[in-house]
Assembly symmetry: C2
Homo-oligomer: 283 residues x 2
Amino acid sequence: MKTCLDCISCFFRQALEASRMVSDDENVHKDVLQEVAKEFSDICLDEPPPSISRRVHKIVRDLTGNPDPYKEVKRKYNQMALGLYPQLRESVLASDDPLLVSIRMAIAGNIIDFGVGNSFDVEKEIEEAFHKEFATLDYSEFCDFLEKAKEVLYLGDNAGEVVFDRLLVEVIESMGKRVVYAVRGAPIINDATMDDAKECGIHENATELISTGSDAPATVLELCSPDFIDRFKSAKMIISKGQGNFEALSNEKGPIFFLFKVKCPVVAEDINHKVGDMVLSRG
Amino acid sequence: MKTCLDCISCFFRQALEASRMVSDDENVHKDVLQEVAKEFSDICLDEPPPSISRRVHKIVRDLTGNPDPYKEVKRKYNQMALGLYPQLRESVLASDDPLLVSIRMAIAGNIIDFGVGNSFDVEKEIEEAFHKEFATLDYSEFCDFLEKAKEVLYLGDNAGEVVFDRLLVEVIESMGKRVVYAVRGAPIINDATMDDAKECGIHENATELISTGSDAPATVLELCSPDFIDRFKSAKMIISKGQGNFEALSNEKGPIFFLFKVKCPVVAEDINHKVGDMVLSRG
């Protein structure tokens, strides 16, 4: 998916929010926005939004001098999600269709996204995700692929959200499949890194934890490590979690299932859905 | 009021909305945003938002080749408001306190502001303005000033909205006062120009119609004509209508009453109010 002109104002908002998280100095905030403006004064929008977002947040890190502006909020949401985990796991395992219910919960966790805004009501989101109708639900195709696959590559998304992914990973593993869970190669927004994934305990459920090798806030293949690209290309089934991974991979061929909540009007228009819609879609 | 860093993303949104109103060519939209980005890559934010907005919309006009991108929507809202006028006038004149009710209606009209967004429900706004409590209401001071003044300088705001101002102007004139109604000197966003004011029929109620002599989307004094500045400085009572005029004049000394609806979080924070609040405030 190409970046849209509407994304530009959103990048400025993100840069300002991130700068304010780590510095009280308005001159620093201003320097960041001026540098972001320089970036946009001559820009090619053929790249997907996460590629541009990557450059914007590099400016934030460089000019605030903070290598991980979202570190504290990531920890906060990792811990918050872990607090909810036992009860959610119980609900999933006690349900008629643990696979589908864990998919619903994975989508609930997708709300924890500081790229879109900085306030969200996770408990309300869980409540809604249990019952809401999917806008797209390619579930039987998902089940067919899953039946045949021995291994699933699961592209993670945000910190905190990883705990919700654990529910789905556990259900898939209980079907005798291996799940390889991929995280970002370095801190970017509140995306899950290896540290976050471990704090969320996903290594207790997934067979393997790997890194994309990139600091983009999504799986932008051109920016990933050769090792990761090999894993991606050879995967028989890929679960691509989150809107950012959709933006980055929507034009990729392959056995991909996109699993996310629509959180911005640009993506909504791209897939002819509404903001708030729940999606499990065969790529 | 100084421009806030939060305003920057809003300026990009405005520039894009305005460009799309008059051109379907995405390359033109992109050129506009790149030029706006150049503007912000080295900017001083000591000016009030309308001064910066003026430069942003000049870029839109220059690069789209359209001297008045909002011309059609201004006409649409002028006509829409004129359609509502007879009924509103009847309600005002039949009320217990026509002065206060016409102030309420003037605030209802303040919603017609394409600087803030491009969709609003005017009829809902009218309904609300009849009953809603003011967040600030310096009404007795307003009445005191009005009693003593022979002439009131009324700083207009947007097209369409002028029709709502007519109600207040008529009530003030019926008290034996002269009202001088000031409009922008050239098209900018959907702000009312002389043509708009006349289309709205304000000349049937106000004693005199004058221009600020400036193409800023508010009364930024440094940019106004010497004639207008004289009128402003010698005025014994000024009604400053709209958020933009508040942003431009909030630091001015003088017999100013600000009359507006709070429509953005930056202004809301500046005056410690909430978005949606109704304000009649002695400057």
